[in-house]
Symmetry: C2
Subunit: 366 residues, 2 copies
């Protein structure tokens, strides 16, 4: 029985609402996952995320594996207990960080070594040497106890030649097969990741290749890596129709509010991105313009600007988050200007709330 049920479909688009059952409760789709890179959504607590009503968060295997390390997480009884988060968690495989954080040697060449076996890399923390294999990333994620695990994949940089894209796609297929074979704890879902860069033929082929393994869901990877937004939408238009309708679809690392909205229309159910949390810490806050999602439906404000000095309105008068209910733009601007740590928390709460409300608003419109 599939863990995913579609409850409603858009009439003019591929958009859909549904619910994904996980070992830590149901998660309504479409959803956005706040990112707890190192077992903490930066600047906020698990209680804050409960208050924000997020049903799922994402955490990064690469970081957790290196810091605090698996012995610590195992001792705690898994990632949920370690960070006191009782709802669902998705973990990535670590592959993306291996490449994006990979050290370079003096000639600027990557020190990450990829072979069929897996990937060898040096820790971003202390330069120590490590290897991740498809088998190992499953064992790590099973020990983390995440509700949704991702296969190890190789994500080519953009742009990639067709030859490179094909090679990396084939390696990803090989690894996906071995991940699937290693996957033993069936309460934890396992998702495949479709690569193929910006090549229609490869994208479609890879969707077909991975579909055969019968994953619990399918991620579309290798997007939001620097390509124009139109190319991202195009890849979705190619891939989504090839994916099984009864499995959730996850667009990794996306994105801006309008990109999420457009991707939902194209049939995507799941998203994650550092944008709301990272921007919050830089004082870039989201405010609603039109909750009907027409046109430029939101605005970004830079709360550090001097024009907010005497502005005693909340960040967004249409927002019900803890930050907007309790504090003014003037106060938050002050906290940023004197670098008070509370600034980062209040801003993060607001932006995550905006993204979660965006998902609800999109869902209502389907």
């Amino acid at each position: 029985m599939s863990k995913f049920r579609v409850l409603k479909k858009g009439t003019k688009t591929l958009a859909r609402c549904g619910v994904l059952q996980t070992a830590h409760g149901p998660v309504k789709t479409p959803f956005f996952m706040p990112i707890a890179t190192k077992a903490s959504v930066k600047a906020i607590s698990s209680e804050d995320i409960v208050e924000l009503k997020s049903e799922i968060i994402l955490s990064n295997t690469y970081h957790l594996y290196l810091r605090p390390g698996m012995s610590v997480i195992k001792k705690a009884g898994g990632l949920h207990k370690f960070m006191n988060w009782k709802r669902a968690i998705l973990t990535d495989s670590g592959g993306y960080q291996v490449f994006s954080l990979g050290a370079k040697n003096d000639s600027g060449k990557s020190m990450v070594k990829v072979s069929n076996k897996g990937v060898e890399f040096r820790s971003t923390y202390d330069g120590s040497k490590h290897t991740l294999t498809p088998e190992k990333v499953i064992r790590i994620q099973e020990a983390l106890g995440s509700d949704i695990m991702m296969v190890l994949d190789e994500c080519p940089a953009y742009p990639a030649t067709k030859v490179d894209a094909k090679q990396s796609m084939e390696l990803t297929t090989l690894w996906a097969k071995r991940c699937k074979k290693t996957h033993s704890k069936k309460k934890q879902l396992l998702f495949g990741i479709i690569q193929g860069s910006s090549y229609k033929e490869l994208r479609i082929q890879h969707a077909h290749d991975l579909k055969k393994f019968g994953f619990d869901g399918y991620a579309i990877g290798g997007l939001a890596v620097g390509e124009p937004t139109e190319k991202m939408y195009q890849a979705l238009d190619w891939v989504v129709p090839e994916l099984p309708a009864d499995k959730p679809r996850y667009l990794m690392g996306v994105g801006k509010p309008e990109q999420i909205y457009e991707a939902v229309k194209r049939g995507v159910d799941m998203f994650d991105c550092v944008i709301p949390t990272r921007n919050a810490r830089h004082g870039l806050l989201y405010i609603w313009r039109n909750k009907d999602l027409k046109g430029k439906f939101y605005q970004e404000i830079r709360i550090k600007q001097s024009k907010y000095r005497l502005d005693i309105k909340p960040v967004d008068q249409q927002c019900n988050c803890v930050t907007c209910k309790n504090y003014s733009r003037s106060y938050i601007r002050h906290l940023f200007s004197v670098e008070e740590p509370l600034a980062y928390r209040l801003a993060t709460i607001h932006n995550v709330h905006f993204y979660l409300e965006l998902m609800q608003t999109i869902a209502k419109g389907i």
Copy 2:
């Protein structure tokens, strides 16, 4: 009618319990004030302080006057509204920071200029020139809307010669008189500050001099400035018996848990100190040993130490704070080791809770 009522007195000591009425509600004595230097108790929110059940906080006039500046606080309708804190606030006069943060010229000489009129100094933020006078610090604090205001005083460094200590004491008396005269908003209490360094004669004389003005409470200043703890206790033994029994007594900038306990026994009602919050941000946490306050009744632990790596107990098993109810030593150690901002908040909540529980425990024993 005095705003302060003593409800219970110690039998063998000068300790007392009572309640101080403020424009923002009653505050049970003896109490400790968490410090919101720049309109935020560093790393926690006003909602956190409500949850911690603190009835009063302290904020610093020097910082607020320079950042965000009075126009911003006035626009918000006062400091309470600015930081969304509905209970009592004590503000200092700014004098202490003028001296402690005072810039020095190339020859190492202080650029702070003191005259009978007031004190001229340069901003720690941008070097701009400012003047504080007794009249001005009252007007600023009246605009801040603090529930307890402090007079402008000159706090001599330790050690000070008797001549210097006397001169600075006499200046403080002159300024105290002018503060008292300027004080117009009687809902806001005004406290005098007793100086006199480590000289018994001066301390007693100054208590007498200030008592004549009829302040709403009396602070003992010029302590916790580097003198041995015994000298601090000695100064209390000299001064407290000279102060009116029906007015609250405030030991500024103190201190360590055992110092607070000893000072309560010597008749002090009010305390403030950066120790719990600053130590929290450095990973130094307080845990209870004996709640009967006998001997070394608490312990400091350095949560960053590797021995806590696999320690899944709460910071303090006897503590009911949000941090101890939800997170382990292992998790908090991890947050510190990867410098997650949540570390500072969880640690601060715990240490402030410890200090507030210390005050309750001391009160129960009276």
